[in-house]
Amino acid sequence: MKSSGRKKLVVSLRVRLLKALLPPVAALLVAGAVGAYFLSLEPASEAYDQALADVGIALAERIRSEGDTVSFDLPRVAEQVMRTDKYDTIYYQVRRPDGAALAGDAGLPPIPAAQEPVEGVIAYDSEYGSRKIRVVAQLVPCGGGTCTVQVAETTNKRVKLARNIVLSSLVPELLITLATLAIVWFGVKRGLAPLEDLSTEIRTRSARDLRPIDPAHAPEEARPLLAALNQLFGQVAESSRNQQRFLANAAHQLRTPLAGLQAHTEIALAQSESAAAEGAPEGYRAQLEQVHRATIRTARLANQLLALARAEPGGYRADAFMRVNLRAVVEDAADEWVHRAMAKDIDLGFELSDAQVSADALLLREALANLIHNALEYTPAGGHVTVRTGLRNDDPFLEVEDDGPGIPEAEREQVLERFYRVAGTTGTGSGLGLSIVREIATAHGAQISLHAGAHGRGCKVGLTFPHG
């Protein structure tokens, strides 16, 4: 989830940048092409017009004027030379001052009325037959009037020229555009590399590590983001500290009166025992025993709820985890449990080897207490409970096995849920014990497993810790 989300962010940043860049770059491309077209077409076109005009000048020199009589004489060979062109068909026409055709291709369109001659020369676009032509007309004095010499050609050369101009400007511009987009694409990736480093750092840190991130190595642009993150970290850490303070206070405020209550019910019980010996009614004592049992259960429940809260994120400090030997945790707590086992006539035994884990010793002790408590609670008198620690395939483990009634396979998942109790059990449990164990396992990255014990009897609950 994390990594795909991160990738999506990067892709969308790139896409967004490209989307923003593409229209202006495309517009620039078009504008560049159009600009180049007009800028280079004009002079090129003028050069072609000039060539036509030169032909016109040559033709004009062939006009002979004798008084009012105007004649035109072009040798056949010269006309053939003049009409020779690789791409276009050349037309010409010479008109007398009265407009009558003197020579050449009849019916070339006349000079448009709106156009004024510049130094006796007019160039214009027109059509001849169905073909587009370019005409250059010259006004030449002759026989007391003005003769018109029109030289025209089809526009193949010019179209070809225009196409060449557009192509020769478009190709490099397209290449530049593609290069720009590519640079943006990879540039964004490179530019975001420090952000990726940052997200790797955040991703690989423990979920409970709330120390601020050092902004020294972060890019300038990421610092506001980092500052916001650090602020959030600070708030979470603060609320976690509040929770820890609250738990410490709640523990104190709950346990002290419970201890007092327990003390007095025990005194009352002891007194009722001697009172019963003197013949006092029995019912009073039975009620006192109920009160006493309820007190013990309440005390245990209070402890469990506190343990559960402490095992939740924010309830403890992961950065305060220490090297803990599972064996030492069990040995420390053994005294307490051996006495309870003795009171129930259960053989509580140990098979302990060293097993180092990184842990909160208090939470481990709590997990162990719940495991042993459950085993003692549900194992009948004369039964056996065995606590083991050590390494299995290099992984540290802690396990408690009993030969009591066990947990039906179908219910093994459910017993890890809070307040779930196996049907038909008579214990006084709250249904919290194993869910506390699971929370604590989770906090330590440990796996919890439930199996039947040896020979398919009883129950074996194990915690397997990450090694190292």
Binding site: A248, A251, H252, Q253, L254, R255, T256, P257, L258, A259, G260, L261, Q262, A263, H264, E266, I267, A270, A299, N303, L306, A307, R310, E331, A334, D335, V338, H339, M342, A343, D347, L348, G349, F350, E351, L352, A361, L362, R365, E366, T386
Partner: protein, 228 residues
């Protein structure tokens, strides 16, 4: 025995007081650390039960003042907090034992007895455990008033167990305490000594319990038939 209880919760303090009075002790209750420090200067107590979570001067500070003042009275620390640090800190500051609230009164009574016994053992050469008496100076043992014949190593093992009644003593700890002759001792050898001790002590109802895979525990002495 004269016992001082320093606990600000009146209900708990009076409960503990009544239990201990029932065991034949004289009990004083003080609700603040300041009172306790002052009181201990004026009077001599055989044992102090000290709550860590006192208002004002907290239990650790009281403990520190006792110890830096050169008072070596046995101190049993009570705490309602579940930080193991509390326990370590308490023991570092010179507490003799530690209990987390809430606790069962018989357990408190047993701890008090153990502490009293320990301070008495330090005070004199005789260790008494029900019908069993060990005179550590004369190196003579008695059971039910009769002389008890113990081999040197049986004596040594028994002494280790007597020092920690109701506590599990691991086989390794016994070996370390007993093997001061500079020779190797196997856990099997310890088993042999313990079974010989059992044969001698069982008839008088002095019980050494085996804690499977761990070690042994000398149970608190109970009269026959007075079981729980």
């Amino acid at each position: 025995m004269r016992i001082l209880i320093v606990e600000d919760d009146a209900a708990l303090a009076s409960g503990i007081a009544r239990i201990l009075e029932g065991e034949g002790h004289a009990v004083d209750v003080m609700a603040t650390g300041e009172h306790a420090v002052r009181g201990a200067r004026q009077e001599r107590f055989d044992l102090v039960i000290l709550d860590v979570g006192l208002p004002g001067m907290d239990g650790f500070e009281v403990l520190r003042r006792f110890r830096t003042g050169g008072d070596h009275v046995p101190i049993l620390v009570l705490t309602a907090r579940d930080a193991l640090d509390d326990r370590v800190r308490g023991l570092d500051l010179g507490a003799d034992d530690y209990m987390a609230k809430p606790f069962a009164m018989p357990e408190l009574a047993a701890r008090v007895r153990a502490l009293v016994r320990r301070s008495q053992a330090q005070a004199g050469p005789k260790i008494v455990h029900g019908p069993l008496t060990l005179d550590t100076v004369a190196r003579r043992a008695q059971l039910d008033g009769e002389p008890l014949d113990l081999a040197a190593r049986e004596w040594a093992v028994l002494e280790v167990l007597l020092a920690r009644v109701e506590k599990i003593v691991s086989k390794e700890a016994i070996i370390q305490a007993v093997a001061s002759w500079g020779e190797e001792l196997t856990p099997n050898a310890i088993e042999v000594y313990v079974s010989r001790l059992r044969a001698k002590l069982d008839p008088a109802n002095v019980k050494i319990r085996t804690v499977r895979g761990f070690g042994y525990m000398l149970e608190e002495f109970r009269e026959k038939k007075a079981g729980r």
